[in-house]
Symmetry: C2
Subunit: 88 residues, 2 copies
Amino acid sequence: MLNNDVYKALSDENRRRILDILHEKDHTAGEIADQFTMSKAGISQHLNILKQAELVYAKKQGQYVLYSLNTSVFQEVVRWLMKFNKEE
Amino acid sequence: MLNNDVYKALSDENRRRILDILHEKDHTAGEIADQFTMSKAGISQHLNILKQAELVYAKKQGQYVLYSLNTSVFQEVVRWLMKFNKEE
DNA sequence: TAAGTATTTAAGTAATTACTTAAATATAAA
DNA sequence: TTTATATTTAAGTAATTACTTAAATACTTA
């Protein structure tokens, strides 16, 4: 079964907004932080929670860290939720 | 957009287990509580969170309260998650 | 009506969460 | 090298969460 961390990660509005931003295209940590009023440290902590849940990848590029979506984990959540809508 | 309460409701392991139990068939509050080691009051509070999130219905039947799934809200969560997997 | 059963509400608490600012680390550029 | 930029880590804190037990409410049955 799917990790509790994934659902916990998705339960925060700011983290879901980060996922929406990354859905558009890959972004560095700073580019993401620029779209929030929250401190960069706060965003970094949210990114870490998303990374732990394997919802995003982080790749160091020089002095930047480029974040991108890991779409495969979303499929697992969808699979669990789908069963409540269809007969199996 | 979908209510934050829904994601918050889904973020707890015990609440997801309650949803799995209700997916099987409708249950009274007591029948649900019997499947947990937690107090009945604790389960009642979880049921209330699921009800606020409109993930379940509650219907009083005599001295019992019968809980059942409200499948329509799941579809909204699935819709949000699906976009991370497919090109739109 | 009194007693029993089912459920919720209230009040309290320990643990967790979401932030903050300051300091640390890593890389780049002057 | 020093200074600037990007990001993370650490430490502290206020708010929220997930429970508990005890009391309240609602219904049923003797």
